[in-house]
Every structure is written in structure tokens, then in C-alpha cells.
């Protein structure tokens, strides 16, 4: 690369600049612990229903089981995703993605870029999509997905989701072996910011977390989410679903959940996710899907009477 290598924050700025011109609104990271950018309401909730939507944001993503005490060069308790969602999926979305890599200075002719099948599934959120992992020189750098089902509901309009693993992309761009050697910006190293928290969070998640407390919290968060859903308060309910999901991940990292028990917990989270997705569509329908401007589509989904025509599946038995 001829130019000075992009710092971590320059990568974010470049991607924001690129995607904001492609119809994505720049949102901010969601202020709740999540395992992935998909869990942000800007993706999860908005990908249901017929309304068009475009968003791009950085999402710090916590995966307790991936913590390595700051000792592994690229496994992290918390990494950063740059999330792009465009709905409906544009015909040239793969081209756009490749152009965004070029904007970051990644010349496809100097690397090996591949779209390797990876049908993404998040069973605990009732989500399924078709797509790929994008490999750059063997490194999985991006998850690329066409959403087919969200919250257990088949989507009306397909969202294309692009999730850049920022640390992965940055290690390719800056040509370093360890994430801790990345330059965040202004000469400050990634390790100077995150190495200590990585150690502490790993220590916490694997050794010090209070299992009884977590078990109790999971139940309480779940109850709160269900109560709020009964009241039709979609967004607060969703916050509590995220809290219970993160609590489950902490329990899982502690090895406190067996394979079969995991199925039980995931079922509980999934039940909530389905409910919230369904309630979200109902609430948007009540507002008349304000973002849906296309007359033909308004007719298709709202009919002549202005009522949402799609039957939302019942909850799981």
C-alpha cells in the first residue's frame, strides 16, 4: 500500500464515509451489552416488516467465551464490528462491499478475496440468513448475509447485512500479527487501551463471575422482558432480552451450561425474540409503516384498508 496505513479509527471513518453515501444512516453503537451488531435494534428489529432501512454503525461486541486474558493475538472478549444493513438488498451489494475494501486500500489484485459459504444462523434469536464469510488471504474478515428469517418470522423485504470484523480488517491493513499491536489512532496502540480490560474481563468471566447471581438475573431479566412485551413496550422489552442474552453468555463462558441445558436457555431467549419481533411489526403497522414510500409496496403490504396483510406466525408452542 502506497499511502500511510490506516489507523483503526481511520478505518471506521472511511467505512462511515463510504456507506453513508450508499444509503446507510450513521447510527451510534447500541448502549447495551450485545454479542454482535446484529443484536442491535437497528438491525434486529428493523429487518422485520416491509419498510426500507439503511444503517451503518460500529458495535462493540462482547463474547465472554472468546476471552483469552489478553494473551491470544486475535481472540477477544470484546471486539468491534462495523455493521452495515441495507434493506431491500441492493443488486450490486457484493460490488459495493468490494469497493469499500478498495476505499480501505485493500487492492483485490494484491490479495485473495473469497466468498465462502456460511449460512448464518442465530438460533437463540430465531434468525437465519444465507450468505458467506469473506476471506481475505485466508482470514475471515466479514460476514455477509441476506436475512431470510428474523425473530422466527420470514422477512418481507430482504436485508443485506455486512459485518466487518474491524480488528481482522485492521490487522490485514496494518500488517501486524497481534491485535494489540494495532494503532488505534494518534500513535496510541490498541493494546494500550484494551489489553488490561481483556485480562480483567477474562478473569471475571472464567473465574470470578457469581453463578448464582447470574442465574437469578437471567430469570429476572426474562420476566421483565415478558412483562414489558405484554404492555406493548417493544424497545424496553428488547433491552431486557439483550440483558438476559448477555447473562446467558456469561453463564456459558463459566462452563455452567451443558449442551442440552443450552437448548433450554436458547429456547427461552428465542421465545422472547419471536415475541418482540412480532410486536415490533404490529407497532410499526399501527403507525402505517411510515418509511415505506413505494406505492406498489404499500398496496402489497397494507392493502386498501391500510391494515398489514401478512399473517404473523403464532408463537412457538
Amino acid at each position: 500500500m502506497a499511502n500511510k496505513k490506516l489507523a483503526f479509527q481511520d478505518i471506521i471513518l472511511t467505512l462511515q464515509g463510504f456507506w453513508s453515501k450508499q444509503g446507510a444512516n450513521l447510527m451510534q453503537a447500541y448502549d447495551n451489552e450485545v454479542g454482535a451488531g446484529t443484536m442491535s435494534p437497528y438491525t434486529f428489529l428493523r429487518s422485520n416488516g416491509p419498510e426500507p432501512w439503511g444503517a451503518a454503525y460500529v458495535q462493540p461486541s462482547r463474547r465472554p467465551a472468546d476471552g483469552r486474558y489478553g494473551e491470544n493475538p486475535n481472540r477477544l472478549f470484546q471486539h468491534h464490528q462495523f455493521q452495515v444493513v441495507l434493506k431491500p438488498s441492493p443488486k450490486n451489494i457484493q460490488e459495493l462491499y468490494l469497493q469499500s475494501l478498495a476505499a480501505l486500500g485493500i487492492d483485490a489484485l494484491e490479495h485473495d478475496i473469497r466468498f465462502v459459504e456460511d449460512n448464518w444462523e442465530n438460533p437463540s434469536m430465531g434468525c437465519a440468513g444465507i450468505g458467506w464469510e469473506v476471506w481475505i488471504d485466508g482470514q475471515e474478515c466479514t460476514q455477509f448475509t441476506y436475512f431470510q428469517q428474523v425473530g422466527g418470522i420470514e422477512v418481507d423485504s430482504v436485508t443485506s447485512e455486512i459485518t466487518y470484523g474491524l480488528e481482522r480488517i485492521a490487522t490485514v491493513i496494518q500488517e501486524v500479527d497481534s491485535v494489540y499491536d494495532l494503532e488505534w489512532g494518534n500513535g496510541v496502540a490498541y493494546g494500550d487501551i484494551f489489553k488490561e480490560p481483556e485480562y480483567e474481563h477474562s478473569k471475571f468471566a472464567f473465574e470470578e463471575s457469581n453463578q448464582e447471581l447470574l442465574l437469578k438475573l437471567f430469570g429476572e431479566y426474562e420476566q421483565e422482558a415478558l412483562d414489558l412485551l405484554d404492555k406493548g413496550l417493544v424497545h424496553p422489552a428488547y433491552d431486557y432480552i439483550l440483558k438476559s442474552s448477555h447473562t446467558f453468555n456469561l453463564l456459558d463462558a463459566r462452563g455452567a451450561v451443558s449442551v442440552t441445558e443450552r437448548a433450554g436457555y436458547m429456547h427461552r431467549v428465542r421465545t422472547m425474540a419471536r415475541k418482540v419481533a412480532k410486536t415490533f411489526i404490529e407497532e410499526r403497522a399501527k403507525l402505517g409503516f411510515p418509511l415505506l414510500k413505494d406505492e406498489a409496496l404499500r398496496e402489497k403490504y397494507l392493502g386498501k384498508k391500510g391494515k398489514y396483510t401478512k399473517i404473523v406466525e403464532g408463537e412457538e408452542k
Binding site: R68, E71, N72, P73, N74, R75, P88, S89, P90, K91, Q94, L98, A108, L109, E110, H111, D112, I113, R114, F115, V116, E117, N119, I130, W132, I136, D137, G138, Q139, Y146, Q148, S157, V158, S160, T171, V172, E175, D177, G255, A256, S258, V259, T260, E261, G264, L297
Partner: protein, 673 residues
């Protein structure tokens, strides 16, 4: 004679679907052309991750014209009372463009002769979009944009050329034309195809090796050349090669390396990282030891390949770093501590913990060890392995690479000082992992593997989690199929019905039916006589080895001369015994004829050590000793004698015959017609 090119341009198709998809496309095209009576010589297939293409060679210019006869009204209603053509006939004729006098009478019906003109190839091919492409089926579909159309991946372009002419059609928002696309990076432009016949030469010029077999040969040659250059041995794993072939359009193989220090990690772990996670080919030195190198294939040319090598090496190091971390950390763990923790790990919420599952398996294994005739030392090993065999589930390595469960267990057990039998059993207890997967080799491993599977089935059936239809979430069918194969291979003889009755639990009858259905399925994969299989699996004691062996023995003799009469005599005995209400004790004093005594003697002579005799011996005894005696008996005595005591005694004698033959099979189920 003309050639037709169809190319469907797609976003990257999953590697494992490329070959099945192009085969399907060719089959559908062939069926479509045949239906339309459009003759052709052959269909040539091309496929890459981004395109499915066909060239139909030697197409006729139009479909064949045919003369056909269209069935009309019956003769009964053809004419009215005055002998004039009826309304029905007139209407039919009009519809066929004929007059009633043109019709021909064949049997009871009138037929119209109809000439169907040939249709131009262009016109037929213009329906390819709806009639061929849109009808394709896939294991997974997707939709995109605001469309409801489902396909394997979004369609980006379609080329449809009959020689140099576009055969236009629309599919969704794509209009077929003459523009293909080159390699995604090396020739990222529209490629104008002037003629269908240019395809095979023009695409490689644009860095797309469209001939999949040629591309695969190219990859193989490149890999073998690199291996030979470096003095390595390499295996071109078939599945891996197929996958790699279907993720590249223009392959360039390259070599990477990693720090030899990682060779201290078990080879299985390194190979899993390279082969399964990264799609690399692992290489070995001339002594057969894993080398700290790999061969991978880039989707592109050799320009700047040093970046690709460095990147791939870096990724692998990160994976190996993780593996080494687990390998070291796991060795600090104590097996006993891990086993203790398994008490908190649920086997299934309705069933209990893994510790409980292991404890039950241990009891079952002990009883199987008796049946299998293990030595005292081996029995100690069975007990020890059953106490600890799931411990590796809680190691970091298995947490990360779950496909290494058992494999790591063996390694860690050996390091912890367990003996080789115990360690091997831990690895082998998962076997077989597929329908024709490898079976355990050691006796201890076989016993543990069988016991683990028996407990799984008993436990799930006990709480009512019984597979039904296609619903088998705990893979119990696979477990039972594995169990059957182990029992057969080890030649264990025991009555499964009595065996499982030693253990408490519900639904034992359902378990036996479930097992029987699996035995039947395994047998029907190799034998085509359903009745013989039925006879074998309905033998009187639930001895799986006997069922399997019996079916093959009977099947092997089905064409031999004495087969039919022997089976018929035995069946006749079975049917008579079935009709009897009670079976008396045999009293030889009541025998009236020599043939009764002779049959009785034959039965007595066979009873000794009968049950576990090899099936071949049993079958010969039935055919050559028992059946002639039965036949003589039937020829000379009236079973249904007037004297009730004599009659009951004869039935009792036959029931002894049936008791003997039923151990091998229920011969009355065999069709001798």
C-alpha cells in the same frame, strides 16, 4: 445443426452445491428438449462458483413435426337416431379443425388425425428461463431484494446464445443477452460473446477456467508439483479437492509454513486446523511425519502472491496458538476433577447429568463384558474407562474443536498415565460416527461404545423421547445402527430383549421394535428378499448377530434344490402349532408310528448346543436332518388324530420342531412360491 449456450451468472454458490446444481441443470435441459422434441447431440457442462453453463451441441433447427391421433367421443354417442353425426362429434371435429367424415373409428372411439408442425429452436429455447432455470430445486433457497423468487443465490446475469443470435427471455429482473463476466478481480468486466462456440476459449482468456474437470486437474497438478519440489508427500483428499475446486475460478497453488514448535501439538489438531478450518492440504515429509508447511490455493494468479502467503500463515498461526494454549492448559487439569464436574453437566434435562449416564453405562458395560468373554484384566479396563470416558468434554481443546472429542480424551488419558486399553476405549466409544464409519478395534472400546449407545437408547425411550418420522433429534437411529454393527462385528450372541430387561425403564417393547427396524434396514441395504429379512428378524430370541447371519445364510441357499420343500415342511409345522390352543408335554409312549419316533430323535439330537451354533450349521441341520424327518412324519401320520391324547402329543412334537427352527428365523414368513 447449431449449438446453444446458456450461462447463469450467480453470486458465489456454496461449494458443495456447484456440481449437483450443474448436473441438475443439464438433466432439466435434456428433459425439456426431449419434451419439446428438439433433437440434439449432446450437452456439455461448465461450472464455477459464479456460473452454471451448458452448451447444447448439434441442435436441430426446429422440433420434429408429428402426426398424432386425438381421442374423441365414443361411438355410442357419435350418431343420433336418424344416423346423423351428433352434436358431440361435430363439436369435437370443429375443435380439431376437421369434419366428422375425417374422423377414424378405432375400437369404441373416434379419433381425429392431427398434424403438429415443428417449432423453431429459438422459440422453444425462449422458454428456458421459466421451464428450466426457474424449476431448479435446491437443498437451501434464498430470496433477495423485494422479490419472492427463490433460488440458490441471486442471479446476476444470463447468457443465452444460439450460435451468434441472442435467444431472449426474462427471468425476474434479468434479461438474457450475450454478456458474461470475467474473473471477479482479474477481468472484472463484461465479456461479450459473439458466438456460443466462443465460450470455452473466451472464458479462460478472462481468467475463468469454466471446465470444472480441467480446473480440478490443474489444481491437482499444481499441488503435486509443489509437493515434489519440496520433497513432501501430500494426499489430495477427494472432498477437500472438490471443495477447493468449487471456490476458485482461476487457481494458483502456493506453499505456506508455520513455526515447527507447533508440531508438539498432536497432529490431529494441526490437521483439523489446516484441513477443516482453512481448506489447506497438509503435507508430510518422506518419513511420513507432518511437516510445518501446507499447500493452499488462491483464487487468482501469481501476482503479489507473497501477501496471500503471509496472510494465510498469520491466520494459521493464530489458530495454532489457540491449539497450543489449550494443549498446555488442558494438561494441567486432572481427570478426576473434570469427571467430578460432569455431575453438573446435563446429559438431557429430562434424563439427568452426564455422570449419571456414565454410571449407567458402566453397569451395562460390565454385563456386556461378560457376554463378550473379556479377560479379568480387560474387565478392569472396561470399568475404568466407563468411569472417566467423557472427561475430555470439559477440556479447552474439545471446547474449541468439538470434532476432536474422544481423540483428545485418548491423548490426555495416556499423558495422565491411564493404560492403552482405557485410553483407546475413550476415543473409540464414539464410533462409528457415520453410517459406514469405522468401528472400534479394541474389545474394551467395543464394549464401551456399545454400552454407551444402549444407555442412550434406554434413557431417551424411558422418558418418552422416542424418534418418530424424520424427527430424531438425539440421533438414536444412528446410535442403534452403530450398536448393531458393533455387535455383529464382535460376533456377540445374546438376547437383547432379556438383556435390557435387566435394567429398569419404560418402553422396552418400543425399543425392541426400534432396533428391529434398524436391523431390517441394514439387511435390506444388502439383500433384496424382503420376506427372508422379515423371517430372520422375527427369530424367537432377540439375537442380533443371529438375525444378520441368518438372513444371509437363508438368502445364500434360496436357489438350492432342497430349499423349497424344507421351508414348506417347517412352515406347515409352524402353522399347525399356531392353531393349537395348548401345547402338551411330549410323551414318547404315545408315539404310534416309526416316523414320529424318528422325528423325535432328530429333534433330541439337534437340541444340544443348538442356540449358538453358526447359522450355516443350523440351516443345514434343518434342511438335511429335520425337514426330511418332518416330511416323513407328515406322509405317515395324521396330526389331527381322533384320539385327542395322540393328537396333542403330535402337536407337542411339532412345537419342539418349531422351537428349534424359530431360533434361526420365522420360516413361515418366507415366500416359496
Amino acid at each position: 445443426m447449431t449449438n446453444y449456450l446458456l450461462e447463469i451468472g450467480l453470486e458465489e454458490i456454496p461449494a458443495h452445491l456447484v456440481t449437483p446444481s450443474i448436473n441438475q441443470l443439464a438433466e432439466r435441459m435434456e428433459a425439456f428438449l426431449n419434451e419439446n422434441r428438439l433433437k440434439f447431440d449432446k450437452i456439455i457442462k461448465f461450472s464455477t462458483p459464479r456460473r452454471l453453463a451448458l452448451i447444447v451441441e448439434g441442435l436441430s433447427e426446429s422440433s420434429e413435426a408429428i402426426d398424432e391421433e386425438v381421442k374423441g367421443p365414443s361411438a355410442k354417442i357419435a350418431k343420433d337416431a336418424e344416423g346423423n353425426w351428433s352434436k358431440a362429434i361435430q363439436g369435437f371435429s370443429r375443435g380439431q379443425g376437421a369434419t366428422p367424415d375425417d374422423l377414424i373409428l378405432k375400437g369404441d372411439y373416434y379419433y381425429a388425425k392431427k398434424h403438429v408442425d415443428g417449432v423453431k429452436a429459438e422459440e422453444i429455447l425462449s422458454k428456458v428461463g421459466d421451464e428450466v432455470i426457474a424449476k431448479m430445486t435446491f437443498s437451501t433457497y434464498m430470496k433477495w431484494g423485494n422479490n419472492d423468487f427463490l433460488f440458490v443465490r441471486p442471479i446476476q446475469w444470463i447468457v443465452s446464445l444460439l450460435e451468434d443470435e441472442i435467444v431472449a427471455f426474462d427471468l425476474l429482473d434479468v434479461t438474457a443477452n450475450r454478456f458474461s463476466r470475467g474473473h471477479r478481480f482479474l477481468a472484472n468486466v463484461e465479456i461479450e460473446l459473439k458466438n456460443a462456440n466462443d465460450y470455452a476459449s473466451k472464458m479462460p482468456e478472462n481468467f475463468v477456467l469454466v471446465d470444472a474437470e480441467h480446473r480440478k486437474a490443474e489444481i491437482s497438478a499444481q499441488i503435486l508439483a509443489l509437493a515434489s519440489e519440496n520433497n513432501w508427500q501430500v494426499t489430495l483428499h477427494k472432498d477437500l479437492l472438490e471443495e477447493v475446486n468449487n471456490i476458485v475460478e482461476y487457481p494458483t497453488a502456493f506453499v505456506g509454513s508455520f513455526d515447527p514448535k507447533y508440531l508438539s501439538v498432536p497432529a490431529e489438531v494441526l490437521v483439523t486446523s489446516m484441513r477443516d478450518n482453512q481448506r489447506y492440504f497438509e503435507v508430510y515429509n518422506q518419513e511420513g511425519q507432518l511437516a510445518p508447511n501446507f499447500i493452499s490455493v488462491r483464487n487468482g494468479n501469481a501476482e503479489h502472491i507473497e501477501n496471500v502467503v503471509l496472510g494465510n500463515e498469520k491466520v494459521l498461526v493464530a489458530r495454532l496458538e489457540d491449539a497450543e494454549f489449550f494443549w498446555k492448559e488442558d494438561q494441567k487439569l486432572k481427570i478426576e476433577d473434570l469427571v467430578a464436574k460432569l455431575g453438573k453437566v446435563t446429559f438431557h434435562a429430562k434424563i439427568g447429568s452426564i455422570t449419571e449416564h456414565m454410571a449407567r453405562t458402566k453397569l451395562i458395560a460390565a454385563k456386556l463384558a461378560d457376554i463378550a468373554g473379556l479377560t479379568d484384566e480387560e474387565k478392569v479396563d472396561v470399568a475404568r474407562s466407563a468411569e472417566i470416558y467423557k472427561f475430555d468434554l470439559l477440556t479447552g481443546m474439545v471446547g474449541e474443536f468439538d470434532e476432536l472429542q474422544g481423540v483428545m480424551g485418548e491423548k490426555y488419558a495416556l499423558l495422565a498415565g491411564e493404560n492403552a486399553n482405557v485410553a483407546a476405549a475413550i476415543r473409540e466409544h464414539y464410533m462409528p460416527t457415520s453410517a459406514d464409519g469405522q468401528l472400534p478395534e479394541t474389545k474394551v472400546g467395543s464394549v464401551l461404545a456399545a454400552a454407551d449407545k444402549i444407555d442412550s437408547v434406554l434413557s431417551f425411550f424411558n422418558v418418552g423421547l422416542i424418534p418418530s418420522g424424520s424427527n430424531d433429534p438425539y440421533a438414536l437411529r444412528r446410535a442403534v445402527q452403530g450398536l448393531i454393527r458393533i455387535i455383529e462385528k464382535m460376533n456377540w450372541h445374546f438376547d437383547l430383549s432379556l438383556f435390557i430387561d435387566q435394567f429398569e425403564g419404560q418402553n422396552h417393547a418400543e425399543i425392541l421394535e426400534f432396533v428391529k427396524a434398524r436391523v431390517q434396514k441394514l439387511l435390506l441395504e444388502k439383500l433384496d428378499r424382503y420376506d427372508i429379512v422379515e423371517a430372520a428378524i422375527n427369530s424367537s430370541n432377540f439375537d442380533i448377530t443371529n438375525m444378520m447371519e441368518s438372513a444371509f445364510v437363508i438368502d445364500g441357499h434360496k436357489l438350492h434344490e432342497p430349499f423349497k420343500p424344507a421351508i414348506e415342511n417347517v412352515s406347515r409345522s409352524i402353522n399347525l402349532v399356531k392353531k393349537a390352543a395348548d401345547i402338551a408335554e411330549i410323551n414318547p409312549a404315545l408315539f404310534e408310528e416309526d416316523t414320529e419316533q424318528a422325528l423325535y430323535d432328530a429333534v433330541i439330537s439337534l437340541q444340544n448346543q443348538w442356540t449358538y451354533k453358526p447359522c450355516e450349521e443350523k440351516f443345514r441341520a434343518i434342511v438335511h436332518t429335520l425337514a426330511p424327518a418332518i416330511e416323513a412324519f407328515f406322509d405317515n401320520v395324521m396330526v389331527m388324530a381322533e384320539d385327542l391324547a395322540v393328537r396333542d402329543n403330535r402337536i407337542a412334537l411339532l412345537s419342539e420342531v418349531v422351537a428349534l427352527t424359530s431360533v434361526m428365523a420365522d420360516f413361515s414368513l418366507i415366500n416359496t412360491k
